[in-house]
């Protein structure tokens, strides 16, 4: 091989083929799927909470993509129906996730609608789930002697109270608002023709 132009041109063509397949074609076909009618956009509180979810790195242990029955018993575990591309119409950046060190959260808002449960669980996961390895997030809470007006006080299960009052910060409340918004229990009636289908075709 004597010609660097041929070499680099060849290399770039190869990358071009890959980019067309994995970036350009999905851009043309699944980027702008219309959202399902029942899916509402995030509120500004929920979007702030979504930023907290990103900042804390929740995505490194929790997926947001229940799989088809042929792949995994996600529906049987109560994680919801297999997701489709349209479910993510408002999700930028996407938070599909690649690990399930913890459970899938695509429908955690439907599974666990209680503010208090979420707040307490973020403060100390092991107070609610025996053997959990989720980090506790004390930095999202303040310990006070007495709650002030407007404070959201966290009610911990017996045996986990501190002698002090645990008050949720705004960040914790935003994060919980986002978690509660994760509810994709509406039915997907039909898929837009030619658009993304869950990869269950085997």
């Amino acid at each position: 091989m004597h010609n660097e132009t041929k070499l680099l041109a060849g290399g770039m063509v190869m990358l071009g083929v890959a980019t067309s397949a994995l970036v350009v074609v999905p851009y043309l076909t699944v980027r702008d799927v219309p959202p399902p009618a029942e899916l509402r956009p995030y509120t500004s509180t929920e979007l702030r909470g979504r930023q907290q979810y990103i900042a804390a790195g929740c995505v490194y242990c929790h997926s947001q993509q229940p799989r088809a029955k042929a792949f995994a018993p996600d529906t049987a575990r109560g994680w919801g129906r297999p997701s489709v591309a349209a479910d993510y119409a408002y999700d930028t950046p996407h938070l599909l996730g690649t690990m399930r060190t913890g459970p899938d959260l695509f429908n955690i808002g439907a599974r666990q609608p209680s503010d208090q449960w979420h707040l307490g669980h973020l403060f100390q996961p092991r107070a609610y789930v025996q053997g959990s390895i989720m980090p506790s997030y004390p930095y999202l809470f303040e310990l006070k002697d007495k709650a002030d007006a407007g404070d959201v006080e966290v009610q911990l299960p017996p045996g986990y109270s501190h002698g002090k009052v645990v008050v949720a910060t705004k960040e914790a409340l935003d994060l919980v608002a986002y978690l509660k918004s994760l509810n994709h229990t509406y039915a997907i009636v039909e898929l837009p023709p030619g658009k993304a289908a869950p990869d269950a075709a085997r």
Partner: protein, 536 residues
């Protein structure tokens, strides 16, 4: 589209690619000329070993494994010394940065690993929470240790291969400074909770502009030196290094344009980037190092130049399209997944081409591994390239992926590739390069040995524990009759073992860095002569 049709079209694509490949062969791209493989030697040098990391005694033992076939041309050796001198200060700067990021990444990685089984440890500080420190670990490896060492080695090797002096080093100096400033800012941003939210692409896009500028500046000397080359043949290492330096900016730029990607399309792009940064940046840099150092150390040209070409073009074609296998079972188009699975499996072709070739080159010279510290690391790395690639091909199959995906099994695979293969090769190459650029010897063969065994035993424990624990975790998750928590608790002993493996690796890196510091402090006394005079 039915699965069969998708599979067929993917195969047709591959066959078309093969036709193009054969066409290029007719056009002379595939050069059967064996002299092309000898371009790394001076005239008459074939048979002469070179390992600046070996002590005099070991170097003699190493030379005894390979009878010299002639006397190297003194003028060409002096030219090579000038090439080394031209790149020396720049390479030294890159390697110093690499050492710093290696230590940062080890500390962050070990902390993250321990946190997975000690979830209430160091939770008071937001920047130390698992989700952030793990991400700092990944980014310090991905944009710190791996590119700084890989590019440093490339900048050392390229002038040697082009038989000319490095031109435009000052641009690369500026580029490296910008790059490191960007990385400091990027890790700080992640620690403070500012993240773009995509795996491998967490660093905010505003900071990414600095990376793009820095990367482009680092590329300048490559282009200028290529234009100044004094060789007819471009050796195979130049192909890998040259293409990697052009591939990476495209990947990084396309992936980081704000507002361009969204929803599921963004997920497809995310893994196109995530896997290509491994396949089209670190892997080619590491393979290029093996292609240069392994034949150089044993004093024998690569066995088959044609096989190396097959390996290169196979990698260039197939590797780019494998990213979709990260989304098997996800809400993305079925054809994309199938394409990626097929191409993941096709990767067996370039991997076999490489492995057969290296086996042939080392055949009958295995004793050299005993005597050459560099070769020990590089041979280990080459073996792990084969292992991790074949493992990756199988992992992309739906039946295996259904169990392995979402588990620590994948983490084990990632470390086998980026540590067992890429980092080990870079360690070996650094042992070779440092004496040449500092004109000092490594003070202690014992410390090199300690580094090797800590790294090798550490990654073995790491890989076995995450693989077995992850596989059991996957099986538990797939069994609806077992509660989810069972898949968590059963991994704990393996996560602890992983921390032990990681601890050994980190200790190895400390020894490596300490040894480097001793070398710089001039503790190489007791040697009979400077390495440089022994074998240029």
């Amino acid at each position: 589209m039915s699965t069969i049709a998708i599979l067929m079209s993917a195969f047709v694509l591959s066959v078309v690619a093969l036709m193009i490949f054969i066409w290029t062969q007719r056009k002379g791209l595939l050069d059967g000329d064996p002299t092309a493989a000898e371009v790394i030697f001076a005239t008459g040098e074939v048979g002469t070993i070179e390992d600046p990391a070996a002590s005099s005694r070991r170097a003699q033992a190493l030379q005894d494994t390979s009878p010299p076939q002639g006397v190297p041309d003194a003028r060409e050796l002096a030219e090579r010394a000038r090439a080394d001198a031209s790149s020396g200060p720049l390479v030294f700067f890159f390697l110093c940065c690499a050492f710093v990021w290696l230590l940062v990444a080890s500390a962050a990685g070990l902390t993250a690993s321990i946190k997975l089984h000690e979830p209430d440890w160091l939770v008071q500080w937001p920047w130390l929470t698992f989700g952030r420190i793990r991400t700092i670990h990944l980014n310090a490896v991905a944009y710190g240790w791996a590119p700084m060492s890989g590019l440093g080695i490339a900048l050392f090797v390229i002038p040697r291969l082009l038989k000319t002096e490095l031109v435009g080093a000052r641009y690369a100096f500026l580029g490296a400074a910008l790059w490191n400033a960007a990385l400091v800012a990027g890790l700080g941003a992640i620690a403070a909770g500012f993240s773009d939210g995509l795996e491998w692409l967490e660093i905010p896009w505003q900071i990414d502009i600095l990376f793009v500028l820095g990367g482009a500046l680092v590329g300048v000397p490559l282009v200028q030196t290529l234009l100044n080359r004094r060789v007819h043949h471009l050796y195979v290492s130049v192909w890998y290094m040259g293409c990697a330096l052009f591939w990476f900016p495209v990947l990084f730029f396309v992936a980081n344009v704000p507002g361009l990607h969204k929803g599921v399309q963004q997920a497809a792009m995310n893994w196109w980037f995530g896997h290509n940064v491994l396949g089209l940046f670190y892997t080619p840099l590491a393979l290029a190092s093996i292609y240069y150092f392994l034949p150089k150390i044993v004093g024998r040209p690569v066995q088959s130049y044609n096989l190396s070409l097959l390996g290169f073009w196979g990698l260039a074609f197939f590797y780019g399209q494998v990213g979709g296998h990260h989304l098997i079972g996800g809400p993305v188009p079925g054809w994309l997944i199938t394409l990626s699975i097929v191409q993941s499996f096709m990767m067996v072709i370039p991997v076999l081409a490489f492995s057969v070739n290296m086996h042939g080159t080392l055949k009958g010279r295995l004793a050299a591994i005993r005597h050459s510290p560099t070769l020990r690391f590089i041979a280990f790395g080459g073996l792990m390239y084969f292992a991790s690639s074949v493992q990756g091909s199988f992992e992309a199959l739906r039946s295996v992926n259904a169990i392995a995906h979402f588990t620590h099994y994948t983490v084990g695979h990632a470390h086998l590739g980026l540590y067992g293969f890429v980092s080990m090769v870079f360690f070996g190459a650094i042992y070779f390069v440092v004496p040449r650029v500092t004109l000092r010897e490594w003070p202690s063969p014992w410390l090199i040995g300690a580094h090797f065994w800590l790294a090798a035993v550490g990654i073995t424990i790491y890989f076995l524990s995450t693989s077995y624990g992850g596989w059991e975790q996957g099986k538990a998750m797939l069994d609806a009759s077992r509660p989810f928590m069972e898949s968590v608790t059963l991994t704990i002993p393996y996560l602890k073992l992983r921390s032990i493996g990681g601890g050994l690796m980190a200790l190895g890196h400390l020894i490596f860095a300490l040894h480097f510091a001793l070398l710089l402090a001039g503790k190489s006394a007791g040697r009979d002569q400077p390495t440089l005079l022994r074998a240029i």
